[in-house]
């Protein structure tokens, strides 16, 4: 509809008086070019923007560089003979207001560009004697060829306000002193990359913990993703075997365990594996062990327990996901392999696995990302423990659970934000590398 000719530069250069006037009075061009209601709406937006800037926006922007200077203080009131507390600046609110203001400005710039282009577009249409859609027709189009605008506006607004703005806000915290350390919870300041240096420095206490947690996070994600994937696939294949009887029954048994809400099963597992929990009681009653096994008390035990329980949680999921895809594998492939005398193991590694990897690489990446960010399993099972004295991170903490502890429990917001950013960076790298090396990216043609 609007081609490359209708850009803002052309609009300013070749536009008529009204189109150019829209640069100052937004919507003027639209109103002059027979789209009065739309023009008025745009103008209303501009007026609302100016009102907002005067009332709040300018102040918010001007406070952003300093993030506030007034500390909360007390002043002696002679008349009343008491100390009165004066409200100081609240840097966290200043930062939020500043970030929101930046987004409002970006939105109005976007609207400005759109209305300039549209105004110029309408002008050219009128010059060519073409029909300009009325407001009624515009509305009708919103339910026809422009349906995507109607459908996607609200979801996009939701994502913008409750995902993108919070993320930008949180990322900006990483460059401040917003932390309980040194009492910077009310008033804090920008301090550049200090926290990043602190985290990457292997000799410091925080840096040492970061590298430990990072290493475990990656080990965990690899084990959790690939063990679940292979074992889930094998389970699906065993159930789908021609000779297996009661397929529906077996599937039901496994699906039952994922049908129960995950946080419930995880909390139950946590209790069952306590030193005096059901499993230890059972083992001791059977005479298999004399002392309770340290499922959560020993670092290595805790790590292995978590991976094993995650298998319990994850295998049925994988089984469900791959069942349909497994049945899509062309039967000729198997027959040919059998004729050549390949055994079951060889068929699995030479045909099934490559085919599945080819088809499910995106899901594998998604599940790897999910495991790196897997909060529930760690937090509800081990709570990140065992934790050594003086550390904020436990031995089974992932970056996400550590992020949670640092922000919600310890209120080290800047460190938490840095860890969040580092997680994002690592995930981006991993995703890009695996995706680029995957056969579905290299060779876009079908399998084989």
């Amino acid at each position: 509809m609007e081609n490359s000719q209708t850009n803002v530069r052309n609009a300013l250069k070749y536009g008529d008086l009204y189109t150019r006037l829209s640069a100052l009075v937004m919507g003027a061009g639209l109103m002059a070019h027979k789209q009065i209601v739309k023009g008025l709406l745009v103008l209303a937006c501009e007026i609302a923007f100016i009102y907002y800037m005067i009332m709040k926006g300018l102040h918010a922007l001007s406070m952003l560089p300093s993030l506030g200077t007034e500390t909360q203080g007390k002043v002696w009131n002679e008349a009343k003979q008491i100390y009165e507390y004066t409200a100081g600046d609240n840097s966290q609110q200043i930062l939020l207001a500043g970030v929101v203001c930046c987004f409002v400005i970006a939105a109005i710039i976007l609207l400005w560009i759109l209305q300039m282009r549209h105004s110029y577009h309408l002008q050219k249409k009128l010059e060519a004697g073409e029909h300009v859609p009325s407001f009624k027709e515009d509305i009708r189009n919103l339910f026809d060829k422009n349906l995507h605008i109607t459908l996607m506006t609200l979801p996009c607004l939701g994502i913008l306000i409750f995902n993108i703005v919070p993320l930008v806000y949180m990322i900006s915290m990483a460059f401040t002193t917003y932390s309980k350390e040194d009492e910077h919870l009310m008033l804090f300041d920008w301090n550049g990359l200090t926290q990043f240096k602190r985290i990457l420095n292997m000799n410091g206490n925080i840096g040492r913990q970061f590298w430990h947690v990072l290493a475990w996070t990656i080990v965990w994600a690899i084990f959790a993703t690939f063990l679940n994937y292979i074992m889930g696939m094998v389970l699906a294949m065993i159930i789908n075997r021609k000779d297996t009887k009661g397929k529906a029954f077996w599937r039901f048994c496994f699906v039952l365990s994922i049908a129960v809400p995950q946080f419930v099963t995880l909390m139950i597992m946590n209790i069952m594996l306590q030193p005096s929990g059901a499993i230890n009681v059972l083992l001791q009653n059977l005479g298999l062990t004399t002392a309770p096994l340290p499922f959560w008390q020993n670092k290595l035990w805790a790590r292995i327990t978590i991976i094993v329980i995650n298998l319990w949680v994850g295998i049925p999921y994988t089984m469900l996901q791959v069942t349909g895809i497994l049945q899509n594998i062309p039967a000729e492939l198997y027959e040919a392999a059998k004729m050549d005398g390949a055994g079951p193991a060889k068929i699995f590694f030479k045909i099934t696995l490559p085919y599945m990897l080819f088809v499910t690489t995106p899901y594998l990446i998604a599940s790897f990302v999910g495991n790196i960010n897997n909060f529930n399993v760690i937090y509800l099972l081990s709570g990140g423990g065992p934790t050594y004295v003086g550390d904020t991170a436990g031995q089974t903490d992932l970056l996400v659970t550590w992020l949670y502890k640092l922000t919600v429990d310890q209120q080290y917001y800047n460190l938490g934000a840095v860890i969040g950013i580092m997680t994002f960076v690592i995930l981006t790298i991993v995703t890009l590398i695996t995706y680029r090396n995957s056969s579905s990216y290299k060779n876009e043609e079908a399998f084989m």
């Binding site: 339910f143 919070p166 993320l167 496994f254 039952l256 009681v281 960010n373 969040g420």
Partner: protein, 290 residues
């Protein structure tokens, strides 16, 4: 399988079959045992979290009765209504958001389509928590973190970003032949009519799947709820309530009630899940084929 075919099986194959079924039986026991155990615990007469026996010594219904009548310490009925209200609203908004986005991305062609999918992928790489903590501050600035406004806050948090979770529905929409839409449009239908009268009825499985997953989400999430409710006990959802029952100060009194609560919550969710798992499988394999 007929007896004729059975007789043909070689002894080796019979052995393999026997071993496979044995393995499946062992695995099934491992997978079902914890669930079985929690059901037994919910009827256990002895109080406390830890007992000296694996199986309960006596059985009672008191745990369920206490769960639904004791409103003084941990008000489970109240939590149940809170969660139900949140779940109903969340279900309406999320379903609308997810299906709208999925339909637009699958059927419409517009300039923002590819960027939107890329942005969704990038946003998915951030830990969900990072946004969560800032979301709390934003809700606080809007005054939605005190009193009963917390419910509105939770509804917003659960449904606002669901537009990012369009993949499974989009995969399903992609498998519906476009020629059906085109025929309808030639007959004079608008896109809105195609969306509501043609695609929605054809995509019934995925609509049901979306409705159910959106309804279940508030029942099973406890992290967001915990961060946003903080200490407002009268706004707790079921998940926080159950989590609290396992904390040090309550566990002895409430452990068997926790088991009862877990069973009460799990039964409807499990029924819904087992009912919709086939839609999930269809969505997954459909998305891959497409």
């Amino acid at each position: 399988m007929t007896t004729m075919a059975k007789n043909k099986l070689s002894p080796r194959r019979r052995l393999v079959n026997f071993l496979v079924h044995l393995l499946l039986a062992v695995l099934a026991i491992i997978w079902v045992l914890p669930i079985f155990w929690i059901v037994l615990t919910s009827f256990r007469a002895e109080p406390g979290a830890y007992t000296n026996t694996f199986l309960p010594q006596g059985y009672t219904l008191n745990n369920y009765i206490k769960l639904f009548t004791d409103r003084n310490v941990l008000n489970f009925p109240k939590m149940f209504t809170n969660t139900l209200i949140i779940a109903v609203f969340c279900c309406i908004f999320s379903t609308f958001f997810i299906l709208s986005v999925a339909y637009s991305l699958s059927r419409m062609r517009f300039a923002f389509r590819k960027p939107y999918m890329n942005i969704a992928m990038i946003l998915g790489l951030f830990p969900g928590f990072m946004a969560m903590i800032a979301q709390y501050f934003i809700l606080k600035a809007m005054g939605l973190t005190e009193g009963s406004a917390i419910r509105i806050g939770l509804i917003i948090v659960y449904s606002a970003c669901t537009g990012l979770g369009f993949q499974i529905s989009k995969g399903f929409f992609d498998t519906i032949p476009r020629s059906i839409d085109e025929a309808a449009i030639i007959d004079g239908a608008t896109q809105w009519q195609v969306f509501t009268r043609i695609t929605m009825p054809l995509a019934k499985p995925i609509v049901i799947y979306t409705v159910m997953t959106s309804f279940i989400a508030p029942w099973v999430d406890f992290v967001f709820a915990k961060v946003i409710c903080r200490a407002n006990a009268d706004q707790f959802t079921v998940a926080i309530g159950l989590w609290n029952m396992l904390q040090k100060e309550y566990i002895y009194q409430w452990y068997t009630c926790f088991a009862a609560g877990a069973v009460v919550i799990s039964i409807p969710i499990a029924v819904l899940f087992i009912y919709m798992q086939r839609f999930y499988v269809e969505g997954m394999s459909g998305a891959v084929k497409g």
